[in-house]
């Protein structure tokens, strides 16, 4: 894997879930959180997973990230089983999770440390580049508490993308932002994806968000999450949040979320 700063130098990953299930067992109870389900995200694909609150969407991302291990089935990245968290799979969390003891620039440069041969100056240069990409140039020396919610998530995006992960896992990253900020970030995330082409798994319960961002929408059932339907999205990009086709698709997703669990026969 190259450490060259140019975007898209590392190939995006292919993510496969084969019959994956997760059951949480404690002393007093056991909870089926997920599956079994199978799913594949192609190289560079933007897959949005939509499901009701508490359905196990986050568990699914945690399995791919390597924070949890599946109770059954396999999680594969390019055919190799996931053995734990690693820099090939970046994650964006609900809260920005930026490090408050570092400046914005040092946050974005944080993941570049893994490239041992990269000089400090080169790391800073790459971090600058990614800050420009998320329109945060000028805030390099700011500390996290000085940023607004939207700026924090932009910085978190830059930090995740700077080390050139091969996949990006997003766990409702815009959930706690105000509507205006969120809508701007939809446009920016689409731009970023067009440039970086990271394979992306994006979890949300917002159907319009799903319609706006996805190459493919995967609708999940209530816990334990199973795939109830899959909708490929062929609308041209960049998509406007208020585009009537996006609205129409969002309604369709909502109908499938609400309706009885209807498989549409397509392979996930």
């Amino acid at each position: 894997m190259s450490a060259a700063p140019a975007a898209g130098a590392a190939a995006p990953a292919r993510i496969t879930l084969e019959g994956v299930a997760k059951r949480f067992v404690t002393a007093r109870t056991s909870v089926d959180a997920l599956g079994p389900l199978s799913l594949a995200a192609a190289e560079g694909e933007f897959v949005v997973l939509v499901g009701p609150s508490g359905c196990g969407k986050t568990t699914l991302l945690n399995l791919v990230a390597g924070f949890e291990t599946p109770s059954a089935g396999r999680v594969l990245v390019d055919g190799a089983a996931v053995a734990g968290p690693g820099p090939d799979r970046a994650m964006i969390f609900q809260e920005p999770a930026l490090f408050p003891w570092l400046t914005v620039l040092d946050n974005v440069a944080f993941g570049l440390r893994q490239h041992a041969h990269m000089a400090a100056a080169a790391r800073r240069e790459v971090a600058h580049e990614y800050l420009r990409l998320v329109h945060l140039d000028g805030f390099e020396r700011a500390f996290v508490h000085e940023l607004s919610g939207g700026m924090k998530q932009r910085a978190a995006l830059a930090r995740a993308l700077a080390p050139q992960p091969r996949a990006l896992l997003c766990d409702e990253p815009f959930g706690s932002l105000d509507a205006l900020t969120r809508e701007r970030l939809y446009a920016e995330l689409q731009e970023l994806h067009a440039v970086t082409r990271r394979t992306t798994l994006f979890v949300t319960h917002n159907t319009r968000e799903a319609a706006c961002l996805a190459d493919r929408v995967v609708v999940l059932s209530a816990r334990p999450a199973r795939i109830t339907s899959v909708l490929p999205v062929v609308l041209p990009r960049p998509r406007d949040f208020y585009d009537p086709h996006v609205s129409e698709l969002a309604r369709e997703i909502l109908a499938r979320l609400r309706g009885p669990a209807i498989g549409d026969g397509r392979d996930a």
């Binding site: 734990g84 968290p85 969390f93 999770a97 408050p100 003891w101 993941g111 700011a142």
Partner: protein
């Protein structure tokens, strides 16, 4: 609500309060309820302090106590942080040390002095020992708690960014725990200061504790009260100047203080 006006008035309010305390002290003395050898007047204390400063008794003692404290504290800090990190990261270390440290913490500083003298004899090593035993446990427990309560999302984010092993401790866990650690270190400083003065009370020929002891031996109440005031003032100044400002800055940057968002 507090506003800018009350903030500006705060030093004045404090000054007025201290003045009132001084007046009350003077009044109690003037009423003559207590014999003059047990309660000196503010003026007597002031005069005695000036004498102690003039005849070269006070400054070497202040210096001795502060230097002992600084050395003992550095030792204690290093030990406390190392043990605290170990406890924070290892369940085994925590199980072994936590109850022990909580127990040790219940001992007053002065209770360490006899064993310190037996172990180290009549020298400064005994004083350092008392400082370390007084303050290390509190700092270790605070550090361990701060590490245990790190938001897990910081560690997850770091692991996704390729951080593992010792780097996870030094580059993420420790800085993430800093606000709690700073609070523990501040407490440790106060406890260590107790330790220095306690140890000097019993064994020393110079130092604030020694001056207190000497004052009692000579039935010099003015010296005793004067040196107590100096000890309080020094402790307060070091706490305010050193630790309070660090703590405030850290808490603000870590997002514990409101009103800093730009957005």
């Amino acid at each position: 609500m507090r506003d800018a006006g009350t903030a500006r008035r705060r030093p004045l309010v404090l000054l007025a309060f201290l003045l009132a305390l001084l007046l009350a002290w003077q009044a109690v003395w003037s009423l003559g309820w207590l014999p003059s050898y047990s309660l000196p007047s503010p003026a007597q204390v002031g005069t005695r302090l000036v004498e102690l400063a003039r005849d070269g008794t006070l400054w070497p003692s202040v210096q001795a106590s502060v230097v002992r404290m600084a050395l003992g504290f550095v030792l204690s800090l290093a030990l406390g942080l190392a043990l605290g990190v170990a406890m924070g990261l290892s369940q085994t270390a925590d199980s072994c040390l936590r109850s022990l440290f909580l127990g040790v913490q219940t001992l007053p500083s002065a209770a360490w002095v006899p064993i310190a003298l037996l172990l180290f004899g009549l020298n400064d090593a005994a004083i350092y020992f008392v400082i370390v035993m007084s303050s290390t446990a509190a700092m270790a427990i605070a550090t361990a708690d701060a590490i245990v309560h790190i938001p897990p999302v910081y560690l997850r984010a770091a692991r996704c960014l390729g951080t593992a092993g010792p780097a996870l401790a030094t580059r993420v866990a420790l800085p993430a725990a800093l606000p709690g650690v700073v609070t523990g270190v501040k407490l440790g400083w106060t406890l260590g200061w107790h330790g220095v003065v306690s140890a000097e009370l019993i064994k020393s020929s110079v130092g604030l504790g020694y001056l207190l002891h000497a004052g009692r031996e000579l039935n010099d109440a003015a010296q005793v009260v004067g040196v107590m005031l100096v000890t309080i003032a020094l402790g307060l100044v070091l706490d305010r100047l050193l630790f309070a400002s660090i703590e405030r800055r850290v808490r603000a940057r870590w997002g514990f203080a409101p009103g800093a968002a730009r957005g």
